[in-house]
């Protein structure tokens, strides 16, 4: 227990801390010009500026801007900024939809895979364009290489860069004083790619290839097994997809088995690295946000608040998964390794649980074990992660999502100390609170309402593979995964039906884009306000009391509202079994 669980976990979190610092500083530094940060960066960054930024990055970025006809010096107001992002996403959505619909006739299809049905193509386009990556299909069997690279891979980069681009604009708005200009979306978008997403994915991909992950355009390999039987082994350009899948909090696997598949995630070592990557892609944003708003400690408080909840969920999940399944107790099965159903032997229950909680605490949604087979407590922790809108959520959007709770905490906190509500010197008035209130009620609406419809209609119920409380978990998990833009599958639900493709696809789009619009409206409204200087009497957002307040608000307003619903799923199941 100690060497198998505690030591690796401590090492993991230490590594997470170190990389959060390094990548957070790096990300903060990367966009210092866009947001106008004059903060100090680690001295080693001078070399980065001298040998990487000036000779390599800037010329590349300038060339891209010239080719794309973008004038990097034009600053946009929120409407243009948001419209640019939405337009880009809309075009991508159409492109994806058409590729999936006609992939059979398109090149790079050595396995001769057919077209997707309209509903699956819709769900697929929706899910990839929104960084959700909920998969109602098996990648190796239903997507051609062209779809994997031309559609999925492209969307994985664009969706993450869209989130980052909007975050940069938001941060700019927060630091503006009575100035509605949020910068240039295309500049932030391109720089997200050239500085953050592409280089780090590249390093990850090289690492994966070195660990034996395939990167080839050849079709499936046909081999003769030791018994003399013939086996077809699916392969393809896995490494590149895997890298951005993890780094961009995407989560859509090349294979249906996702990161449980040995070609995606061959060893415990790759597992640890990928697990770190899936968290760091978004945690580093929180740290960088602190730099951008000129309060590194505030960034740390945000990381700390969310980490507190994630660690609690991890403990709950570990209690479940390491404890094993009581149903098997009398059957003479050795459960000393914990609940191993649906888990890979090379990872074991600890690494699978760590991954499971990591993936539902972000919008990654990639899996290295089958969540459907988790114990009730484990499943509960996964659901709770998503019920908090996936906590760290996704690249860029993670900070934006959390900010809604931060606004509420600032609002109530400021009142509690007798001050008019504000955040980082910006007043929070009824306009901003109104928008934040709508964002808050969106997640429960988009989860509970469709789940309610699904469990009382034939289309909804037919897909459930395991009726009762567990079946209810399957359905509510599907919509949690969609509405939190998480994308992980509980599996078990036969979700490739018109009903689930259309409902989940629509939920995904609404859950992604409505908050983005509202958040940019908040950005605009805050950008136009004065920044009030801080004093002794101002609510501090960089200390422990605020962290506690934020955690309480997130748990009570965000998490607990789902208790009645979740009681009918995993909690009922847990209490029935134990």
């Amino acid at each position: 227990m100690f060497f198998g669980v505690v030591v690796p976990l401590i090492l993991f979190f230490l590594a997470l801390g170190v990389f959060t610092y390094l990548l957070g500083e790096y990300l903060g530094w990367s966009f210092r010009a866009e947001i106008g940060v004059e903060e100090e960066f680690p001295s080693a960054f001078h070399y980065l500026e001298k040998y990487i930024e000036r000779p390599i990055l800037k010329p590349i970025e300038r060339t891209i801007f010239r080719l794309a006809g973008v004038d990097p010096d034009t600053s946009m107001n929120w409407k243009t900024y948001l419209f640019s992002a939405l337009l880009l996403n809309f075009i991508l959505f159409l492109l994806l939809y058409l590729i999936f619909l006609f992939q059979g006739g398109l090149p790079l299809n050595p396995a001769d895979i057919g077209n997707l049905d309209w509903d699956l193509a819709f769900h697929n386009a929706a899910t990839f364009v929104s960084n959700t990556n909920q998969q109602h299909y098996a990648g190796e069997a239903q997507l051609s290489y062209f779809s994997q690279l031309g559609a999925v891979l492209l969307a994985m980069f664009v969706s993450a860069a869209t989130g980052m681009g909007l975050l940069v604009g938001f941060a700019k708005g927060l630091t503006n004083s009575e100035d509605p200009r949020l910068g240039n979306f295309y500049v932030a978008f391109v720089k997200s790619l050239t500085r953050f997403l592409l280089p780090i994915s590249f390093i990850l991909a090289i690492f994966l290839i070195s660990q034996g992950v395939p990167q080839t355009f050849s079709g499936p390999a046909t081999v003769t097994t030791l018994e003399g039987a013939t086996q077809t082994i699916a392969r393809g350009p896995v490494a590149v997809v895997e890298a951005i899948k993890m780094w961009g909090t995407n989560g859509g696997g090349f294979f249906a088995a996702n990161a449980a598949h040995p070609f995606e995630n061959p060893t415990p070592f790759t597992n640890m690295v990928l697990n770190l990557a899936l968290l760091l892609g978004t945690i580093s944003n929180f740290y960088a946000f602190g730099i951008w708003v000129k309060k590194r400690k505030h960034g740390l408080v945000l990381v700390g608040a969310v980490s507190t909840i994630v660690i609690l969920l991890l403990l709950v999940a570990l209690a479940g998964e390491l404890g094993g399944n009581p149903g098997l107790d009398g059957l003479g099965i050795d459960q000393s390794l914990g609940n191993m159903e649906g888990k890979e032997v090379r990872f074991g229950s600890m690494l699978s649980t760590l991954w499971g909680v990591s993936t539902t605490s972000t919008t990654s949604g990639s899996v290295n074990s089958m969540h459907d087979s988790f114990t009730a407590l484990g499943g509960l922790a996964l659901l709770l992660g998503m019920s908090l809108n996936s906590l760290f959520a996704g690249v860029g959007t993670g900070v934006l999502n959390l900010l809604t709770y931060v606004f509420l905490a600032s609002f109530i906190g400021a009142l509690m100390i007798g001050r008019a509500p504000g955040y980082l010197g910006k007043r929070l008035e009824s306009d901003e609170i109104k928008l934040a209130a709508i964002i808050i009620l969106l997640l429960p609406t988009l989860v509970l309402f469709p789940t309610g419809i699904a469990v009382v209609t034939k289309f909804g119920k037919d897909a459930i593979s395991n009726p009762g409380f567990h079946g209810f978990s399957q359905v509510i998990y599907e919509f949690f995964s969609a509405a939190a833009n998480n994308g992980s599958g509980f599996e078990g639900l036969k979700d490739n039906t018109v009903f689930y493709n259309v409902s989940a696809g629509s939920v995904i789009l609404l859950a992604r884009y409505i908050p983005l619009v509202l958040q940019m409206m908040i950005a605009d409204s805050l950008a136009k306000k004065k920044i009030r200087p801080e004093s002794e009497g101002t609510l501090k957002v960089e200390n422990l009391p605020f962290l506690v307040l934020l955690v309480v608000i997130m748990v009570v307003i965000g998490g607990l509202v789902f208790i009645p619903a979740i009681s009918l799923g995993p909690i009922a199941e847990f209490l029935s079994l134990w």
Binding site: I417, A420, S430, I440, P444, F472, R532, G537, P564, L568
Partner: protein, 675 residues
């Protein structure tokens, strides 16, 4: 509060049940709708699939009716309290008559024939009235001619009479106050029903109707929570259908009421009204609720030195001989020059000299030889019968007057200025003999008040017409952050604008017409009632006591208003945690026995849990009314300490209290045999 007032409040509470009125408070509105629904269930349970006893539904209905009435009662009780204060003011308005001038005439020429006696209601804005000793001033106005001493105790509670005179900053008079001596010609500046008394009464009424800006935000937030909880509860019907769980309408309503922030929803109006009433009780008229809220948020206070930091009365503290003269000759010169000087300074000089043993018989000091202070010469003094000229005045004036200026004069004068004093020079027959040190005393307790304000994170800025040295000394003594010396009132507007441009919320006091633009520009402009009509018009608050330090108290009241709101919201939200543990298992365990294990509180039964939870919900409202009306205690400590304290106090109790109360009520209900 009298029995009738409570009775009246109860009647108002019932009137407020009108859904058209309640819709402004979404949480309580939904509670009312739920009540109507549960009453329908009681009447016809079969339509709602109600399978439990009618008595159970009746009990829920009854508790819910009480919940809604408690909510409206909290509001009307606060209103009644405010009204009671307004009522006592209104009493003063009655039965005042005034002498209206038929035509404008100089004051001394006015005779009985020029006057017509009319009731105060008949007097119109712009009319001229005449008042003399013993008269009540019929309505607010501005003195056109004359000066008089006036008893304003009816309005301010201050028994010391005040002097009001035409021109300048002390020309305005308030209706309902009494003239103690002399006579005045007054131009009425307020129309009937628009006097300050009316305004004060009006404020109580406005405050009870209009929400303040961040109350609106909070209401929006609570509305969105309410929407979420409604969704959570209604979708249970669908979910229950799948997992074979039957949650009745009545129980769903119980869950909804338990989850909704009814406590803070019920108390929001009471908090606001009580906050406004606290302001009026302090004899301050706030022209809007927003102004009171802003007061809590001020982070820069611009304070006048004189009257706010210091008493404004300069008194002599020391005589300093210059050149060959000794202490007693300086004291003597000071005494003689000031003997007929009726100003505070003059009297204090005489007092100090007498204290030092100076006495001169009056006949040696001819009154006709006295020269009053004039701005031209900057001096006052006396010419004795033997032709000796004694003069006292500002250093510049004395230097000009004197035949020769001793070198030590400037040094000693600077020393006095450095210690915050004002030096006056003394000369006898053109020869400088000494200096008088005048000190403007700090108001008692002002250092502590300033220290408190600084702890709140508020910057204090002092403005004074005094020279740099005096200003610095006073600022240091009082512990102020910044000061502006040799400052003209006209410059205040610039200062306010500058601070506002930096993003600060600025509060200031003022009484003169030249303060008016700055008062209007400031976030909180507290005008003095004794000041000019223009100043009172411009400010968004008026202090009836004309005490500039009141600004500090108003800041405290504003903060209390916001804190009470925040703390009760936190309490209300924290309450939810217990509901999930009490209600959810109870509601589900009938159909899903396994969920009974979540019943950590070991409550008796589903019905007892529902009733206990609802009773708690309803009783907590009247229980917290006193807190809402009194306001959360405010301590001047740093923001972080305050947050920790209130989070612990109100969040912590919000977590624990319902667990204990629900368990207790449950046990009680079982003990008395209800279950």
């Amino acid at each position: 509060m009298s029995r009738e007032q409570v009775y009246q409040a109860l009647v108002d509470a019932i009137k407020k049940l009108n859904p058209g009125y309640l819709i402004k408070n979404p949480v309580i509105f939904v509670t009312e709708l739920s009540t109507v629904l549960i009453i329908a269930v009681t009447i016809a349970p079969q339509f709602f699939g109600g399978a439990q006893g009618r008595w159970y539904y009746s009990a829920i209905s009854a508790v819910l009716v009480f919940t809604v009435v408690f909510a409206t009662f909290a509001e009307s009780l606060a209103e009644a309290q405010g009204e009671a204060h307004a009522e006592s003011l209104r009493a003063m308005k009655e039965e005042v008559t005034g002498n209206r001038l038929r035509e404008d005439k100089p004051l001394e020429e006015i005779t009985e024939e020029d006057l017509e006696e009319v009731s105060s209601e008949e007097i119109e804005k712009g009319d001229l009235v005449y008042v003399e000793e013993g008269d009540m001033i019929p309505r607010d106005g501005s003195i056109v001619e004359g000066s008089a001493s006036i008893d304003e105790s009816a309005i301010t509670g201050e028994s010391e009479p005040v002097i009001r005179q035409s021109g300048g900053d002390k020309s305005s008079v308030t209706g309902g106050t009494e003239v103690l001596s002399d006579n005045l010609k007054i131009e009425i500046t307020a129309a009937a029903g628009e006097s300050f008394l009316d305004e004060m009464i009006g404020l109580v009424e406005t405050a009870s109707r209009e929400k303040t800006p961040n109350e609106i935000s909070l209401t929006l937030l609570l509305a969105s929570f309410t929407f979420i909880y409604m969704l959570v509860v209604t979708t249970l019907t669908f979910f229950g259908n799948y997992v074979h769980l039957n949650v009745e309408v009545a129980d769903q309503i119980a869950l909804l009421i338990g989850l909704m922030p009814t406590t803070v929803g019920a108390l929001l109006s009471a908090i606001r009204i009580a906050g406004m009433t606290r302001v009026t009780r302090d004899n301050v008229i706030a022209k809007s609720g927003k102004a009171v809220e802003s007061a809590g948020d001020l982070d820069v206070l611009i304070l006048d030195k004189t009257g706010t930091i210091t008493t404004g009365e300069r008194t002599a503290t020391e005589f300093i001989p210059i050149g060959s003269s000794d202490n007693s000759s300086a004291a003597k010169a000071a005494f003689q020059s000031s003997f007929y000087d009726e100003t505070t300074e003059g009297r204090s000089i005489v007092a100090l000299a007498e204290h030092e043993g100076e006495e001169v018989s009056e006949d040696k000091l001819p009154e006709e030889g006295f020269t009053e202070f004039s701005a031209e010469t900057g001096m006052s003094g006396i010419d004795l019968d033997d032709g000796t000229e004694i003069r006292k005045g500002s250093i510049d004036a004395i230097e000009e007057y004197a035949d020769s200026v001793p070198g030590e004069l400037d040094d000693k004068a600077d020393e006095i200025a450095d210690s915050g004093g004002t030096p006056l020079g003394l000369a006898v027959d053109g020869k400088v003999v000494g200096l008088i040190e005048l000190q403007d005393e700090l108001k008692t307790g002002i250092e502590e008040r300033i220290a408190e304000i600084k702890k709140m994170g508020i910057k204090t800025v002092m403005c004074t017409g005094d020279n740099e040295r005096t200003a610095r000394y006073i600022a240091e003594q009082a512990g102020l952050d910044e000061y502006y010396a040799e400052f003209q009132p006209e410059e205040k507007i610039g200062l306010v604008e500058e601070e506002k441009a930096k993003g600060h919320m600025v509060g200031m006091t003022g009484d003169g017409t030249n303060d008016a633009p700055a008062l209007a520009k400031a976030d909180v402009g507290l005008a003095m009632n004794a000041g000019t009509a223009a100043a009172k018009e411009a400010g968004n608050m008026v202090d009836m006591d004309s005490d500039p330090t009141k600004l500090i108290e108003v800041v405290g009241i504003g903060k209390q208003l916001l804190m009470t709101r925040g703390s009760l919201t936190t309490f209300s939200i924290a309450n939810d945690i217990s509901r999930y543990f009490a209600l959810v298992p109870a509601l589900f365990s009938a159909s899903i026995p396994a969920l009974g294990k979540m019943n950590l509180m070991n409550l008796h039964s589903l019905q007892s849990v529902v009733i206990s939870s609802l009773i708690y919900n309803s009783l907590i409202i009247p229980f917290l009314v006193p807190l809402a009306m009194r306001g959360v205690e405010y301590k001047p400590v740093s923001a972080s300490q305050l947050l920790t304290r209130n989070l612990f106090l109100y969040g912590g109790s919000g977590l624990v209290v319902p667990f204990l109360s629900i368990k207790l009520i449950d046990m009680l209900l079982v003990a008395v045999g209800v279950f």
